[in-house]
Amino acid sequence: MTTDTTIAKPPVLNPYDDGFPTLKAILASDMAMQLDCGAELSEFSMAYQTYGTLNDDKTNAILVTHALTGDQFVSGINPITQKAGWWSLMVGPGRPIDTDRYFVICSNVLGGCMGTIGPASINPETGEAWGLDFPMITIADMVRAQALLLDHLKIDRLFAVIGGSMGGMQALEWAAVYPERLFACVPLATAAQHSAQNIAFYEVGRQAIMADPDWCKGRYLAEGKLPRSGVAVARMAAHITYMSESALTQKFGRRLQDRENITFGFEADFQIESYLRYQGSTFVERFDANSYLYVTRAMDYFDLAEQHGNGLLAEAFKGTEVRFCVISFSSDWHYLPEENRVIVRGLTGAAANVSYVDVVSDSGHDAFLLDEPEFTRVLDGFLEGAARKYGLPLKGEG
């Protein structure tokens, strides 16, 4: 009797998409979606959440676009962390993005790892995770996929697209490419192109991941490994850019971590080290290393003026009827107030309807996610003004 010596390979699963409850749409089933890199994607899955109720005219939809490591759980309880969604302060009943009046959609970006197709998804041709075989994606591709999601939801026009950081890039891309599909656009703490400094920081992160032997040239999922230390370093480096120097000093200073004296070694003597190590080590549990490579690259490639205006930002928005509200934060050094002002000047040059506020804050780039009363007031005021113009019910009329 001969025994079959080939042992069936265990099926490779995407550990980041392990069946948590989320809505999913299968997009591009009739026609493949063209990507900027030349490749095509068809019949791909996009994970999303919705909050509130779509009105009969389908005029009250707001798309919230998330940042690099964000997800679709913008409000309510995130089923994975069991904590409040990442922007519950701003999105929810009675909040500025009021789910009692608006129908809020938030989808996981293309290339992400929370249920939308990305490098950790299974490539049907190989039965393994895509890894580096996944096509390169851009901010424009992310927005194309979101537009397909809206088609799927049968929503022609959004009341607003709102997003911070990389979400702000998507919001700008929306206004440049589909001006007829949105009434208002709110880019927060963002830029119309990635600066050399930002490319540099993300390159450090990518190199850290790729230098980790457990990255296995991108095939770690198939090999049953995770590039933990690489991802941790990438997260630590990026995390520094999200906080202002003064916030770091206030929060940590030179305080020591659970000890009276320095230890003359390389333990995490300082609280800031301990904090960053914790941030780094927990990140890999929720975020796929290859997704990090792909999505940061998409940001690096983003250059709205170059891609839509022959080098002139004003050209990219020429004739636009979209109402804009750009908001920056004074201590943000990831996307400087000046970079936001460049957006405003481009819009001004296009004679666009634009408001701009630089909110005075100590919290650095992260300020757009935090409780900043002045920011809340401005966003609330802008949305109320836009709602009035668009004929949507105002606060108290909902």
Partner: protein, 205 residues
């Protein structure tokens, strides 16, 4: 909410010069009182530029389209002839280059409306003459050392500048201490003496 129908007298004079439905930029729009009135009572398409964060916040919170910025840096980014009217109310005297600003206003607007406190008013002259010190009063509340005002002028000065720059004065009003408006053309001498504030409607030749 404030009663929109009652705005400051000098702002009302400006508002009266603006045709309904036009495109208006208010440079130095402060808390947006005038812009709010124009948008809601005259149906204009309005934009504002304001340097103080508090002012911008108040404007945006009211639903006005206002950009935080400095007139002397940011007017250059607006395209030519983007507006029917560009307003500069009570701000000219606080700029580094008033002539440049007025030139810019008329580059991006078909018409410009400029208002400013008149340093030729008799009380100002009297204060300086008898006290020998820089005038401080209700319309000029600052000491010389903490004043945001850099370039004061009289009504006569302003008219001379316009002539030099080839700018046509379409309308000119002086506002006396009782808030009554007088046409400057009737008598420049008295207007320059009795006007506490002046409002000019300008266009390019």
């Amino acid at each position: 909410m404030n009663n929109r129908k009652n705005i400051r007298v000098d702002l009302q004079l400006i508002a009266d010069m603006i045709k309904p439905g036009s495109r208006v930029l208010d440079v130095g729009c402060s808390d947006g009182q005038l812009l709010d009135y124009l948008v809601n009572e005259k149906g204009i398409s309005g934009r504002g530029l304001e340097i103080s964060p508090e002012g911008v916040n108040q404007c945006v919170s009211k639903g006005l389209s206002v950009v935080q910025g400095d007139a002397e840096e940011d007017l250059g980014y607006y395209p030519d002839n983007a507006f029917d009217y560009v307003i500069l109310s009570q701000t000219l005297q606080a700029t580094h280059h008033p002539d440049q600003i007025v030139k810019d206003l008329l580059r991006l607007g078909k018409r410009a409306i400029v208002s400013f406190p008149n340093f030729g008013h008799w009380r100002v002259r009297k204060y300086l003459f008898f006290n020998g010190r820089m005038p401080v009063n209700d319309t000029l509340p600052y000491e010389w050392y903490n004043s945001p005002n850099l370039h004061f002028c009289t009504i006569k000065d302003f008219i001379a500048m316009c002539e030099e720059m080839g700018i046509t004065i379409e309308k000119s009003l002086a506002l006396d201490a009782d808030g009554k408006a007088h046409r400057i053309r009737t008598s420049l001498f008295f207007a320059n003496l009795l006007g506490e504030q002046a409002v000019f409607l300008l266009h390019k030749d």
